[in-house]
């Protein structure tokens, strides 16, 4: 299953200094989506994406069963949920 979304969500994250050199130190703890809270159990990847002139920070995080793609707009400081997926094949081939 893979679902493309474009929904604003609540995110609890901290920007810690307790991170190895050259790493951002952003930690995401919890996501609230559709009135339900999800505890983030593991952090996947943080990458940057330029959309026009605006830099978006894309965080791939997962709970025990779901993977969320959260996008932080560096201009508006808004968190968006852009993708939810799990580890099952999503293509019907």
């Amino acid at each position: 299953m893979l679902q493309k979304l474009d929904e604003r969500v609540d995110v609890i994250a901290i920007f810690t200094k307790e991170a190895p050199m050259r790493q951002s130190g952003t930690k995401i703890y919890r996501v609230r989506w559709k009135s339900r809270e999800y505890n983030v159990t593991s952090f996947g990847l943080h990458h940057l994406e330029r959309r026009g002139s605006i830099i978006h920070h894309v965080f791939s995080v997962s709970t025990k069963t779901l993977k969320f793609t959260l996008v932080f707009n560096s201009k508006t400081l808004v968190w968006m949920l852009e993708e939810v997926s799990d580890a099952t094949p999503y293509l019907s081939c």
Partner: protein, 421 residues
């Protein structure tokens, strides 16, 4: 020509990310780690798997297979579509790490790079230690799931060969001391650049293994195998002499696209062609060039291939100029053939400052149109790709989507110049 094996010290490091796209997907999604996944170009049974994960490779899934074949070998194969921005960002990050070790970092593709330490020869630098350090830093700074192969050798070819010896996550060094031993364990097709057809030609010349290839005389290779200067190149390359440190200038800008289900009418082909030209044109203009030549190819059903190229009288710069020039060539195609793959490229480049004044046209008018085109490009740079577009490109969001040319280097130059974050 007789040359001994080069005794040059190994100062070239080749780094190759393992199953790059699939590994990056596993880095991003911890739920996919340890599972067989494949990144495929298109979500259809005939879609090509461009990167199987290390786990999928154990089932026999290979790059270039269709999804249908991959699923036949591994029913649990998880298919994901490519996410180019993610891969480009990882590329920029690993390149940034590499440049901390040497000024000379040469990206070979989205997942490969060469670090040249020759300038530090004689300083006691330990490349094996640096290789392990880079492996550790990729894990720390990109993702704990990221692995790479490191190869160290006296030239680029041997460094790449070393990087392919122990996959995944290996580190090997080839020097003049172990070169013959390494070759003795490799098949001819294990050498980068020797495919099945070259293997056949070598076999015909009674060269059946890599050791025989190494021992073959350059004149013999030239006469019986390559019949060209490539014989000298291979003779030197195998012995550890550097002949691959050549940088090729950008000579053309092109795009291609596979049309799902095929297309034959002008109404179907026009939006695809226009978007291809717009994308190629954007790259041409970013490069500050104009083009004189046009090349177009189409692949139809049953493998029928048609292509044509033509030099225009005047240079082309805006998408409209490119499109008009392209249509003059494309209109000569065989009609009613269903096209499944189409590619356009623009060549014979020169700096855009050299504008030929028009004798029978209003020069000021087309210069105004070029300024307008530059302005539209600036708006799209600021607000996002295709925010301002022509009517021909309406409803083309799902056509000619963003893709990474696998193994391409030219695209990376665009990436460094215009997408640095």
């Amino acid at each position: 020509m007789q040359l001994p094996i080069s005794r040059a010290e190994p100062y070239i490091m080749h780094i190759d990310l393992n199953s790059c796209f699939a590994t990056i997907e596993q880095c991003a999604n911890p739920l996919l780690r340890g599972k067989p996944i494949g990144v495929a170009a298109y979500a259809s049974p005939r879609g090509c798997i461009v990167a199987p994960s290390i786990e999928a490779k154990k089932y026999g899934v290979k790059t270039g297979m269709t999804i249908r074949d991959g699923l036949a070998l591994c029913p649990k194969l998880i298919i994901r579509l490519p996410d180019p921005p993610k891969y480009r960002d990882v590329h920029l990050r690993f390149k940034k790490i590499f440049t901390e070790y040497s000024d000379t970092v040469i990206p070979k593709s989205i997942d490969e790079a060469i670090i040249d330490f020759s300038a530090m020869a004689g300083t006691g630098i330990d490349l094996v230690k640096i290789g392990y350090e880079i492996k550790r830093r990729l894990k720390e700074e990109i993702s704990e799931w990221m692995t790479c192969n490191v190869g160290i050798g006296p030239n680029r070819f041997l460094a790449k060969t070393a990087a392919s010896l122990h996959k995944p996550d290996g580190l090997d060094v080839i020097t003049y001391k172990n070169l013959e031993e390494v070759y003795s364990k490799l098949a001819l097709t294990d050498l980068c650049g020797i495919n099945k057809r070259y293997e056949y030609r070598l076999n015909v010349a009674r060269i059946f293994n890599t050791t025989q290839f190494l021992k073959a005389d350059a004149d013999y290779l030239k006469q019986f195998v390559f019949q060209s200067v490539h014989a000298d190149y291979w003779y030197k390359r195998l012995r550890g002499y550097e002949i691959d440190d050549v940088n090729f200038a950008t000579k053309s800008f092109g795009q291609m696209y596979s049309i799902k289900g095929g297309a034959s009418t002008v109404e179907e082909l026009e939006p695809v062609l226009y978007k291809l030209i717009e994308k190629a044109g954007r790259r041409l203009r970013r490069h500050g060039s104009v083009a004189h030549g046009i090349h177009i190819f189409t692949l139809c059903k049953d493998g029928y291939f048609w292509h044509q190229q033509r030099l225009q009288d005047v240079e082309m710069y805006t998408t409209l100029e490119l499109y008009k020039g392209m249509w003059r060539v494309f209109s000569k195609r065989p009609q009613n053939e269903k096209i499944f793959k189409i590619g356009v490229s623009f060549y014979d480049l020169e700096p855009k400052e050299f504008v030929q004044a028009r004798l029978f046209e209003d020069t000021d008018n087309f210069l105004r149109l070029r300024t307008l085109s530059d302005t539209v490009d600036k708006i799209n740079d600021e607000w996002g790709e295709f925010v301002v577009r022509t009517g021909k490109m309406l409803n083309t969001e799902d056509l000619v989507v963003d893709r990474i040319s696998f193994g391409g280097v030219k695209e990376l130059e665009d990436l460094y110049l215009y997408n640095q974050i």
